[in-house]
């Protein structure tokens, strides 16, 4: 069920302050309540992930039996998914820093992603979560390769929008790793090569180790099944990336998600930051297991409001966040995954063409002042 999208209300500064107070209260209550169950949750997941990986690697000794091979791929894909999303992504957000356990500290953990944790924390925790959906600032809007908002100027390059999205879905991990190098800005000479030197070094090391591990060492360990293991490892990664990218696209690119301009950031208070997070993200529905398998990305709204809150708390506070949205007349964009996915792809494909964008955008801009709603090109029911 989709909340009506337009018009998006503009809040007065008193309302924004109220919004900040209300959301801070939601946050403070949960943060004061953190304890053993949260600690046990993340440790249980770590153990589960380790066991799945072990199982996957072991099964590949019987990789010549097709069903076993498939089971191994599934184990490895799920283990990798947990490592990246429900564990890695969330731990790197500092969701478990309160525990004081160095093994779960945002500053220490090195995840399985190809991008080093350090670079990821900069491009994701800092750039994306601070400047969420601000055109020209948030580099996660289309990741510098896609056009996902009518506000991005059309260029014949974007005729390949769908293709770029599909490729990114297949090779998400590599995409993220290269993302940190900001190649598009290098080409436009907005960034110096020298700024990338350290990142290059870290990337080379990390990629070297990963590639050796997945595509040389583990295959070699299975002796005669070298190629079967290699294929399984590669499949696991691709499966994981397809799934993760679908989730991420659905959290940020579906209809109803709003983008902002840099001018709106001037003197931004906490209330407006919250406001921006609420309008810049979308949820999708699902049960507990489903949310774990998505790294709780189905609660993208709650995650963007409280990136350092342990993710297992998001379902618990969702009704409160929704109530706050209702109080201020703000939309709470949610729907089933398949619908958000469909909406996302329709948008990506439509945006490969320049059609109608200008007039529609003019209309929207007039109605909403400086606010921009991405849905205008994808139509509305």
């Amino acid at each position: 069920m989709r909340t009506p999208i337009m018009p998006v209300p503009r809040l007065t500064s008193e309302q924004l302050d109220g919004l900040a107070r209300d959301l801070d209260a939601v946050r403070d209550a949960v943060m004061a309540d953190l304890g053993t169950p949260d600690a046990e949750y993340i440790r249980r997941l770590l153990r589960l992930q380790g066991r799945l990986e072990l199982a996957g690697r072991a099964l590949l000794y019987l990789g010549f039996l097709p069903p076993v091979w498939v089971a191994a791929v599934v184990c490895l894909a799920v283990s990798s998914l947990l490592n990246r999303e429900e564990i890695g992504h969330n731990v790197l957000h500092g969701q478990y820093d309160w525990m004081g356990d160095p093994a779960l500290s945002s500053q220490n953990v090195e995840w399985e992603g190809l991008a080093s944790s350090k670079d990821w924390r900069r491009s994701h925790n800092y750039v994306h979560h601070t400047f969420t959906n601000v055109l020209g600032k948030d580099r996660d809007i289309g990741y510098g390769i896609m056009r996902v908002s009518p506000e991005q100027k059309w260029h014949p390059y974007y005729l390949g929008n769908g293709l770029y999205a599909a490729l990114l879905m297949l090779l998400l991990d590599w995409g993220f790793a290269l993302h940190d190098l900001e190649v598009d800005r290098l080409l436009r000479r907005e960034r110096a090569w020298s700024e990338n030197r350290e990142i290059h070094r870290r990337l080379r090391r990390k990629i070297g180790v990963r590639v050796l591990r997945e595509y040389v060492l583990f295959p070699a360990l299975t002796g005669p099944f070298f190629f079967s293991t290699l294929a399984a490892n590669a499949c696991a990664k691709v499966l994981r990336d397809l799934w993760t990218s679908a989730l991420i696209f659905c959290g940020h690119f579906p209809a109803g998600v709003v983008t902002f301009t840099e001018e709106e950031l001037a003197d931004e208070g906490r209330g407006h930051w919250y406001y921006r997070q609420l309008l810049g993200t979308a949820n999708f529905d699902g049960g507990r297991l489903f949310q774990i398998m998505t790294g709780h990305l189905g609660h993208q709204i709650e995650h963007h409001l409280f990136p350092d809150m342990p993710s297992r708390r998001y379902p618990q506070i969702a009704p409160q966040v929704r109530a706050v949205c209702d109080k201020y007349g703000l939309p709470y964009n949610t729907g089933p995954l398949h619908r958000q996915f469909f909406s996302t792809w329709r948008s990506i494909l439509r945006l490969s063409l320049p059609s109608r964008v200008v007039t529609r955008r003019g209309a929207t801009s007039r109605r909403l002042g400086r606010l921009r709603v991405r849905t205008d090109t994808v139509g509305r029911r």
């Binding site: 600690a39 790197l92 004081g100 924390r121 925790n125 800092y126 979560h129 601070t130 990136p307």
Partner: protein, 317 residues
């Protein structure tokens, strides 16, 4: 409450009188507390013993008493502290201890015992009542086997059964025959709550013997109780431990303070979102700039950009 711990292979041993920082996870949070080791430094099985007074308002000691179970894992810092015996064991030792403060003294006694030390040891042992007196039976046993050991039991809240009553005073020292001026050979070791340590220090200083005195202070960490609306605490100091720089605390964030002191800690959003500036606070209290919450003094990870000093603070920067 007494606890025996079996350290792993990383443990480098300790000297009698030293303490460790014990890291115990209570309700998901790893808490660090200092505890002196009470066991002999020569124990064959390398296990270590601590004795803790259970503070009903505390976090760690009640946990250890009521909820800890055999087989749990804790972290232990390397042994630290200067409250140790010289390499050449003193010929005459005067030990004064009170409450749980006797733990490092027990370690010293047990260690000397294992070394078959033959020097004179006088132990002035304070406790509220007989029931509160830690290691009473073991000490009694020891005195029977070691003619050179004298244990003087002093009760502060009980009027019978002991050797002395009330708090430590010059009279107490005189009564046990410890004529401090004359006992030039005696090294004095005092361990206990701050007021006991201060009293002894006063007496020893007045007699010009301050350099013969070794002290261990068992002060519990105390968070300042000023109203959380106060934006800074006067005369407070921020120490950047790794860089060896310090700065007077001001109302600004620790990130700004570090930058003003010439440090370059990493940062991103500067509004508490991204965790780029997360650093380890080694001690001291900070105020969260967004919700005004004042932290306790223990070690924890904090975001420099949204934390302001609230009293002395030491950072791992």
């Amino acid at each position: 409450m007494t606890l025996v711990l079996r350290p792993n292979a990383n443990w480098r041993g300790f000297e009698a009188g030293q303490y460790v920082r014990l890291g115990v996870e209570v309700n998901g949070v790893r808490r660090h507390r200092c505890f002196s080791l009470a066991s002999s430094a020569h124990r064959k099985d390398r296990s270590i013993e601590i004795s803790a007074r259970v503070n009903p308002d505390g976090i760690v000691s009640p946990y250890l008493k009521h909820r800890a179970t055999t087989g749990e894992m804790y972290t232990v810092s390397p042994a630290q502290g200067e409250f140790t015996l010289p390499e050449r064991r003193p010929a005459h030792l005067l030990m004064i201890g009170s409450g749980s403060g006797v733990t490092p003294l027990m370690s010293i006694l047990r260690t000397l015992h294992d070394e078959h030390h033959s020097g004179r040891v006088t132990f002035l042992h304070y406790a509220r009542t007989e029931a509160d007196m830690l290691y009473r039976d073991e000490l009694e046993d020891m005195t029977r086997h070691r003619p050179h050991l004298t244990v003087v039991r002093a009760y502060t809240a009980q009027r019978t059964g002991g050797d002395l009553y009330g708090h430590l005073s010059e009279e107490h020292l005189a009564a046990v025959g410890v004529d401090v001026v004359d006992v030039a050979a005696a090294d004095a070791y005092v361990s206990g709550p701050p007021d006991l340590v201060e009293t002894v220090r006063g007496i020893w200083t007045a007699r010009g013997l301050a350099d013969r005195l070794h002290t261990e202070n068992f002060a519990a960490p105390v968070a300042p109780t000023a109203a959380p609306t106060t934006h800074s605490v006067p005369h407070a100091k921020v120490i950047f431990a790794r860089s060896g720089v310090s700065a007077p605390a001001a109302g600004v964030s620790l990130l700004e303070l570090a930058e003003a002191s010439g440090l370059r800690p990493p940062f991103g959003c500067r509004q508490g979102i991204c965790t780029t500036c997360t650093s380890r606070k080694l001690g001291g209290t900070v105020r969260h700039l967004l919700n005004g919450e004042v932290s306790h003094v223990e070690e924890e990870q904090i975001r420099l950009c949204v934390s302001a000093p609230y009293g002395d603070v030491t950072l791992d920067l």
